[in-house]
Symmetry: C2
Subunit: 248 residues, 2 copies
């Protein structure tokens, strides 16, 4: 694993009393530049203005550094990301983002809408539903470990490659058909209304993957529109794969 | 789709003022008896003492009733469950359970731990992490729609069957290896400490599937122990597949 200070850089913050201190000491993100789940957490960290040390875990090099003993002891699923923060070790991107939103409620947007009334609960459910549609319904079925296993079922190199592409394209297109229908009902500027939420954080890495797999995006105008808007936001720019120290 | 009043039955409840009324009017669960995600929601409904109308959506009959236009209009992912409650339409099992827990906080156990301090936030994250490990990390990769697609990649019937079994067994065993390691650290009577949570709700249907796929469970003593305890609880008994009106 390569270690490097990643964006956002560790920096001085000025407290209410005028004091300055290095913030978020000890916050470490184990990440891979192109991992969707790492990327989601990086966006949330940027939106919540949390500086952190970036530790690259290369998912391909050395047969996959996430499979090595040292990292597997931290993360038994042998996946990125893992976030060390506040003295605890957090895994699974969506629950990590819920944690960051709860513990940093006064910084940045509410990634999961608040509101203790019935409308608040329903809106929260909608945000989480769309996040799960992407996270559980698309990404987890087309991520690297599944693609590797699909390829392992075939012998010759050409078939492996063809099956990998067909597989990825199938699940992304299927999921996006459903997501587009949902967005027709609930989207505003962003996935759910006019503020950035957990659902948007899940959307952007998934669109990146859709483009890698050459999914026909013309069928998904709401997804394309919202993604284009999100890509202009500073936190989304800072967290993008090509800005990471391990980008290739 | 077949419609039937399912357990728990609609029934009279006595209010604080002595009045009686049919409760949870209009609550409808679209479910399939053996669907893990439907099962999770049924457990949560039972734990929260919510009566509902059971509408069976047969995932195999008629080429899959979830794919038919009528249901797909409600649930664009063409999956069960869908829950109609409080005048809203909820999808994705884990977010549905979060909603039920938030809106029925005074009934039954806290499925996602409360506590506004740092320890509360960390415990909440742990529960959600384990739920995601199962939901996103195992179930979504080995559910029926994925198995059907895996089988479609091969021509002869024997190979289809063999690949299906190998696939299911692989992903469940892999996920359970990680889950077992996590449970060594955080389990008590149940997955996280000594109260039933969302993580336990996800566990039981996954163990049922592990047994269907003949996964060697002797390697997972904590999973086996916790599952056996959960299976004795009334809400888990009431929500089991074989108690459903569409059970075969």
């Amino acid at each position: 694993m390569a270690s490097a200070a990643g964006p956002p850089q560790k920096r001085q913050k000025t407290g209410d009393d005028g004091s300055t201190a290095e913030t978020d000491a000890g916050t470490v993100l184990y990440s891979y530049w192109r991992s969707s789940c790492s990327w989601r957490v990086r966006i949330a960290l940027a939106l919540k203005d949390i500086s952190y040390e970036y530790k690259a875990v290369h998912l391909v090099k050395d047969g996959g550094q996430q499979l090595q003993e040292g990292y597997a002891a931290i993360n038994p699923m042998k996946e990125v990301p893992t976030l060390l923060i506040d003295g605890v070790q957090l895994k699974q991107s969506v629950p990590i983002i819920e944690y960051l939103d709860e513990t940093r409620s006064s910084t940045g947007p509410s990634l999961v809408p608040r509101g203790s009334d019935a409308a608040g609960a329903a809106k929260r459910q909608k945000v989480r539903q769309l996040a799960e549609l992407v996270s559980s319904g698309i990404q987890s079925v087309q991520n690297l470990r599944v693609l590797k296993y699909v390829m392992s079922m075939f012998d010759d190199v050409a078939t492996k490659k063809e099956k990998k592409i067909t597989w990825g394209r199938h699940w992304i297109a299927k999921g996006f058909e459903a997501l587009e229908k949902e967005l027709e009902q609930c989207s505003g500027t962003y996935c759910v209304g006019d503020t950035v939420t957990l659902a948007d954080i899940c959307l952007v890495p998934q669109v990146y993957n859709a483009n890698r797999f050459k999914v026909d995006m013309s069928r998904f105008p709401n997804i394309v529109r919202i993604n284009a808007t999100l890509e202009q936001l500073p936190a989304f720019i800072a967290a993008a794969p090509n800005k990471m120290p391990d980008a290739q």
